[in-house]
């Protein structure tokens, strides 16, 4: 067997003129776990999509087992043994778990799918620790972590030669992560090449043999695990020190300041269980935890998206239960939400920058006539300045802006209403570092002006360096509130896995 399994030579890929990968040389070997590290937007996902045949390189060559390949679809890649577990799940929601797995590599006899294949699907599920998920269950009824397990089982089922895992374990608890890692070690022993994308350093430490760091679409460096300290790796990933990225710490807001947003004992379905939290004027409050532990739902509950929420939600003493977004955004309440998915929830990608920025304030135009809405247009112009928005023309579709500028448009849309409390759901996902730093500074400034900012984030650094306090969610409730000196990476990880620090020390 050749020493290298996959080799990329000088591969570049750009989307509509924006480079996603620039002249990347990269290789990985069979029987090893190769971790790919990088900030959001560093080009990790583009790399994976290239290998999996979802997209094709603009220039450069990809070779597998010494032979140059060019896959035109995921199907072709899979036929050659490349299987990818995508970050955006590739499960078909209305099909059963069994059908989803079997469809990935159906074996038929006389046109009919062999029954034995389902037995193998069952074994694959059991292997990854999903024995509690029945084959007949519909995927749409599963939780995010169950879906991730099915996705991993599906990948394993296809008996890959190159297995790519893109944030495969983001919603899994520590026990499940260990089971999955066991499977990966087994595959590794069988000679499978594994690419492991994650932004969780401790997982990379536990499973990877080699690490490659990507930044801004370039391959920065590759080294064996243990050759660099965590701080050095983070430095390579962000290309500067954390101190440059984050604004200086602000003095803590005194405990005596009354809360702007006061949430107490809120429950919803089984996904929120007696959640209580508060945010004071001038505070940036973080919400952390594994994926989908309730931190998104509490934001939706506050913003009136959910029905049947019990408990009490108050803003400056006004009860918000039962109110919906059109009411909540009015100036006497002053609530704003920057939603999680920029492309489908925050923006209307095909429409103009101008319309997207006006969208929240549209309803305030006198008599419904835009020509009379000069006030808010003037405010928007100020905000464009303040946010340092870079754009070609305000009439261009907002999709033509970079991810960072798109997020600025979402922020401008809400800031024009001067909200009193700003809810942000993972606002820096997929954004370049320069813009990230600008957004951090903006949030700090807004807090200093007296706004209460609630920041839900999947980025530990953000929670540690930007927030005054962090609520860590686990299975729908607040597992821990961390503040001041308690805010550290280890404490956050431990709390989000709901394990105590010393227990974790033994585990790793």
């Amino acid at each position: 067997m050749a020493d290298r399994y996959v080799e990329l030579k000088s591969v570049s890929k750009s989307y509509g003129g924006v480079p996603a990968l620039t002249k990347v040389d990269f290789r990985c070997e069979p029987g090893r776990v190769h971790a790919i590290l990088g900030e959001n937007g560093a080009g990790k996902s583009t790399l994976m999509k290239l290998l999996a045949g979802v997209i094709q390189p603009d220039s450069g060559t990809i070779s597998i087992g010494g032979q140059t390949v060019r896959f035109s679809s995921p199907r072709e890649a899979a036929e050659q043994g490349t299987v990818c577990m995508f970050q955006e799940l590739s499960l078909m929601p209305h099909l059963s778990v069994g059908d989803n797995i079997v469809l990935a590599a159906p074996r038929t006899r006389m046109g009919l799918v062999e029954r034995g294949v389902y037995r193998e699907a069952r074994e694959a599920l059991d292997l990854v620790g999903a024995s509690s998920i029945p084959l007949g269950a519909r995927v749409s009824g599963l939780s995010l972590s169950e879906r991730q397990l099915v996705e991993i089982a599906k990948a394993v089922f296809r008996k890959p030669k190159l297995l790519i895992l893109d944030e495969a374990t983001s919603a899994l608890t520590s026990e499940l992560v260990e089971t999955v890692f066991g499977v990966l070690r087994m595959l590794k022993a069988q000679g499978v090449a594994i690419l492991f994308i994650s932004h969780r350093m401790h997982e990379v430490d536990a499973i990877a043999d080699r690490i490659s760091v990507f930044r801004n679409g370039r391959h920065i460096e590759t080294f064996d695990v243990g050759a660099r300290t965590t701080d050095q790796i983070v430095g390579l990933m962000i290309g500067r020190s954390l101190e440059e990225l984050f604004p200086p710490r602000r003095p803590p807001v005194p405990d005596t300041t009354p809360a702007v947003l006061d949430v107490s004992d809120v429950s919803w379905q089984s996904q929120l269980v007696n959640v209580s939290l508060a945010a004071r004027a001038g505070e940036i409050v973080g919400l952390g935890g594994l994926d989908a532990q309730g931190q998104q739902q509490i934001m939706h509950a506050v913003f009136g998206v959910l029905r049947g929420v019990t408990g009490r939600i108050e803003l400056n003493g006004k009860r918000l239960n039962g109110l919906q977004p059109p009411r909540l955004k009015q100036s006497d309440i002053g609530l704003a939400l920057v939603p999680e998915d920029r492309k489908t929830e925050g923006l209307i990608p095909s429409m103009s920058v101008a319309l997207n920025m006006r969208l929240a304030a549209l309803g305030r135009a006198p008599f419904g006539l835009l020509d009379l809405n000069g006030n808010s247009d003037a405010r928007l112009r100020q905000l464009i300045e303040r946010l340092a928005l870079t754009y070609g023309s305000l009439e261009d579709p907002v999709a033509t802006l970079s991810g960072g500028n798109q997020q600025k448009v979402v922020l401008a849309k809400w800031l024009v209403l001067s909200p009193k409390c700003l809810l942000l759901m993972d606002p820096t996902r997929g954004i370049d570092l320069g813009t990230k730093a600008q957004i951090y500074r903006l949030l700090t400034d807004l807090a200093a002006e007296g706004m209460a900012v609630i920041l839900q984030s999947t980025d530990y650094e953000e929670l540690i360096h930007l927030c005054d306090r962090v609520y860590v969610f686990y299975r729908g409730s607040v597992a821990k509130e961390l503040k001041g000196d308690q805010l550290s990476a280890d404490a956050l990880i431990a709390a989000s896995m709901n394990v105590h620090l010393h227990a974790r020390a033994q585990m790793s």
């Binding site: 979802v54 925050g346 969208l359």
Partner: protein, 331 residues
């Protein structure tokens, strides 16, 4: 659909003045010119002003009805209750106008418009509140209207009188130009302004593109939906009243031949059937195109069957040109 994952819109390379909307309008306008030239070869009287003005008059009925249909389509929904909204309105107006009660007779036209709005409201209830797919719900409403019309008229032609105003508006001329066309131009001007310069118009386009984003921006989504369907009903009724003035009679099924031309006019005019994209000028020219096309087919004395085939084929070809030339969008 090979680019399923890369749905991000890439910047277009084409010059800015020739955007997708203008391209559609240009295409359909060229189609009109081709029809006129082709028609003049077959039939010399084709390019005479008298004939052309008559075409514009007929196109006005279609165009006004298509105005409402376009708004609903911009919203990302569809209104299949158009045929029996037209018939129902015509029946109500003609019987009210022929009523012996002078008050009822004088209110015939407002009554007809109210009927249209009521139908629109009923459509909106199903779509906005029950979230039934518009295609199914408006079809069911259409079936109910049909039933109500059959019941009311006893399956015979309704008797009555066509209001003077309807006749004047539909068949009269001012300064040599058909009134119907003038009415349509006014409707068009107002529509263009509403779509571009009002909050409602902006919401309409935005909702057609992404209901989710608009809802999360704190808009009253159901209100916009209801308003749009009510407006569509109003336009259907308005068109029906003009049509009544033109044909001078109401009969069962008079609206049936309008569904396909109305939707065709909107869609070949460049409005995306999925909502959120399109401009009114396209619909305007689209209505003229459809009218010219059916006029030529009848001038050529084609049997109705052949007319139907050619009509369908030309619409399909226009749609295919859109579909194949526009990489980003879907019709």
């Amino acid at each position: 659909m090979t680019d399923a994952t890369e749905r991000t819109v890439t910047p277009r390379k084409s010059p800015r003045w020739l955007n997708r909307d203008r391209m559609s309008v240009l295409l359909i306008a060229l189609g009109c010119v081709a029809l006129l030239l082709g028609g003049s070869l077959l039939y010399p009287g084709f390019l005479k002003p008298g004939y052309l003005l008559q075409q514009l008059q007929i196109a006005a009925f279609l165009g006004i009805i298509a105005t409402g249909a376009m708004m609903v389509i911009l919203l990302g929904e569809i209104d299949l209750s158009v045929p029996w909204t037209i018939t129902g309105t015509a029946i109500v107006v003609i019987s009210a106008s022929g009523s012996s009660n002078p008050l009822v007779a004088s209110l015939a036209i407002p009554l007809g418009l109210c009927l249209g709005m009521a139908v629109g409201f009923l459509n909106a209830i199903g779509v906005a509140i029950f979230r039934v797919p518009a295609m199914v719900w408006t079809l069911a409403v259409n079936a109910m209207l049909l039933g109500a019309a059959v019941f009311y008229t006893g399956n015979s032609r309704p008797n009555g009188e066509v209001p003077w105003l309807a006749t004047q508006a539909a068949t009269g001329r001012s300064f040599g130009v058909p009134n119907a066309f003038l009415v349509w131009v006014v409707v068009a001007a107002i529509t263009v302004w509403v779509l571009k310069r009002t909050v409602y118009g902006n919401y309409l386009y935005a909702l057609g593109n992404s209901r989710r984003a608009v809802f999360l921006a704190g808009a009253r989504v159901p209100l916009v939906t209801v308003a749009t369907f009510v407006l569509a009903g109003l336009f259907s009724s308005f068109g029906a009243i003009l049509l009544l003035g033109y044909t001078n009679q109401a009969y069962q099924g008079m609206g049936d031949p309008y569904l396909m031309p109305v939707i065709s006019a909107v869609v070949i005019g460049g409005t995306s059937i999925q909502g959120g994209r399109g401009n009114y000028v396209g619909t305007f020219v689209g209505a003229i195109f459809i009218t010219l096309l059916s006029s030529i087919l009848s001038v050529m004395q084609m049997p109705p069957a052949a007319r139907q085939i050619i009509f369908g084929a030309i619409i399909l070809v226009m749609l295919l040109i859109h579909g194949l030339t526009d990489k980003n969008g879907d019709i």
